[in-house]
Symmetry: C2
Subunit: 372 residues, 2 copies
């Protein structure tokens, strides 16, 4: 099936929209959240569990899979879908962000980015062409263009250079793409400078890629900047394209993005926090390590119908956590992913019924504490 994105409805009171994103593996109703499966597994859970919660697209990482087990190995084994037994869609990050955040000594030139593996220090060169080759070998449904990621804060001229390079690299990615099936998304850069974001978006949109991401966020900038950059960038991306904010985020950030017209999100938060004992609930965060749950017979979230909340008490989950029983991580991960899936489902329903602003207010007011 050819990649396709259709906006099926727009919210009356905000820029939010309902859409259907179609890839060769799945149809994904948007706005959607993608669980992170960096190394070819959504940490601690089975593909059946991820699918059973309702998710139809996950994110995997070109950088990690290139280093281990190797993209060529994955290709020999029939691609990542088959290797990890995931029937849904896969979007792969290009490696740009991971090289920025994980790799040792790195050197960005026009050709690409040279870096040392965070595993064994070996030297590698990721060019736009290489990144596309790796992602095609993995068998992604959606390939991300290699981007030049800078941290926060960054000087304006460095941010300009990185954004312009990202656009030139996107051109090379597009030219290097051999497979027909996968879609290819560009990544808007420009740090916290509105005019650079504009320049970056315009340059990328000329390339007529299949979708556009807003990158370089969640790198340490204050929350207001993130919202401001989303607000500045989304209107520049024509309505017919799916819009994706990478690495975001907290429930409130997702609501902020959706209200401004964003369709796709991914974040390690629900899965990583689960392993640290932090559960998302309708009343706000619950830290299962807390001594007050020692003898608490209630489910983690009385409003939740996930296996954890149906079958186990807070007391039992805390017992597992303290005993370092890894079954605890699985139950908590399923719970947090269930929370995220339900939130996205509720968001879609609210857009359908043109009451998203109300929904957002109620959602946030229901929480005793926020997740910030």
């Amino acid at each position: 099936m050819v990649f396709n994105f259709q906006v099926v409805r727009k919210d009356a009171s905000s820029d939010a929209r309902l859409g259907i994103l179609t890839t060769s593996h799945a149809q994904i109703p948007t706005p959607a959240f993608m669980p992170v499966g960096t190394r070819g597994v959504v940490k601690t859970v089975s593909p059946e569990e991820v699918w059973g919660l309702g998710f139809r697209m996950i994110l995997a990482n070109a950088y990690h899979l290139y280093l281990r087990p190797g993209h060529e190995l994955v290709e020999r084994h029939g691609g990542l879908h088959r290797y990890m037994n995931w029937p849904g869609a896969i979007l792969t990050d290009s490696g740009g962000f991971q090289v920025f955040s994980l790799a040792g000594l790195r050197k960005v030139t026009e050709e690409g980015v040279e870096f040392q593996s965070h595993i064994d220090g070996s030297s590698h060169l990721f060019t736009p062409e290489k990144s596309v080759e790796v992602q095609e070998a993995i068998g992604s449904d959606i390939i991300m263009c290699l981007d030049d990621v800078k941290g926060y804060p960054v000087e304006r001229d460095l941010a300009l250079e990185a954004a312009q390079r990202t656009t030139r690299w996107a051109q090379r990615c597009l030219a290097a793409k051999k497979k027909v099936d996968p879609a290819i998304f560009g990544i808007v850069q420009g740090s916290v400078f509105c005019d650079l974001r504009k320049q970056s978006a315009e340059g990328l949109i000329c390339l007529e890629l299949d979708g556009y991401a807003i990158g370089g966020l969640s790198v340490g900038e204050p929350r207001e900047f993130m919202v401001e950059m989303i607000e500045a960038t989304v209107p520049l991306i024509p309505e017919r394209y799916p819009r994706y904010v990478m690495g975001v985020g907290k429930p409130r950030d997702i609501l902020d993005g959706v209200l401004r017209g964003v369709d796709l999100f991914d974040c390690v938060l629900p899965t990583r926090n689960a392993r640290n004992g932090m559960l998302f609930t309708s009343l706000g965060p619950l830290n299962i390590k807390n001594a007050r749950y020692r003898d608490d017979p209630r489910p983690v979230d009385p409003c939740c119908t996930c296996p954890l909340c149906r079958n186990y008490s807070r007391s039992y989950l805390r017992h597992l956590f303290l005993e370092k029983e890894i079954y605890c991580h699985r139950l908590s991960t399923i719970h947090n992913l269930c929370f995220y899936y339900r939130m996205m489902e509720d968001i879609r329903k609210a857009i359908e019924e043109s009451r998203l602003n109300n929904f957002c207010a109620q959602f946030l007011a229901g929480m005793e504490e926020t997740y910030d």
Copy 2:
């Protein structure tokens, strides 16, 4: 339902027998293997998975649950079955073995055993009465009498003293038992001395407990002694009683026990080895860490129908293992437990068809390497 054990068939060529063990939670066809769920969870897997493999009885530990989260807490939460969401039967070890193997400074007197917690060094006294109280609070289907466990080697007079004390303690356990439903099993001691084993068995059988275990094995003695002690002890336990060899064992040990008339087994081997990357297969052990599996597209065991072997390659499992992805432990645990369940099922079928000796020879011959 009242506890009951019935021998339904005897093998023509050995002392093996088929039985049905009934507790208030389950009917268990014997010979049976019990997965170990020390702290109220079979490590890394869900109760649904354990049940789905066919298991109807697991083992939990009075010592561990007494220390954390506390037997009274478990009782307040409706007992262990409900706390951990396990619908099948639970047998609890009395704590005798754990005090011997884990606790710090310990002092055995006629009253009981004083020990220091391996968690925080706090002092505790386990008497026969206390052990029964803890196990009743947990809600066990089968309570084990507190035993005085010695290591190997041990001097004869010390072994004699411990065996005699174990019998006196069993008497006190029986007197302390308040609940009607749970069964109570005695534990034959006597180290590697046949005459002491005989004395111990005779003393315990006079008490007319509900079943008998052969304890004090797998404490470092050579394998021949283990088989010899089973051979010496089983005939002393009347046929109407279920016989249980604690902490055993490897596939070959289980076959040896079954051939000599043993009905129940438990061991951490399938679950612990899974977490270390060792998989049981019909051709012998497979260590998934081995570099030769890096690119191997075959399932771990082509003869196995578990979720691991149905859905994943050796290459993928090795990738998960090297990346320390804990989903690997779950898949491996399910596989190893599946191997054990199928082995017990095949054993029962072979007894049914009076061809157990043949089965054992074939089973062991089929393996390229043994598990010793």
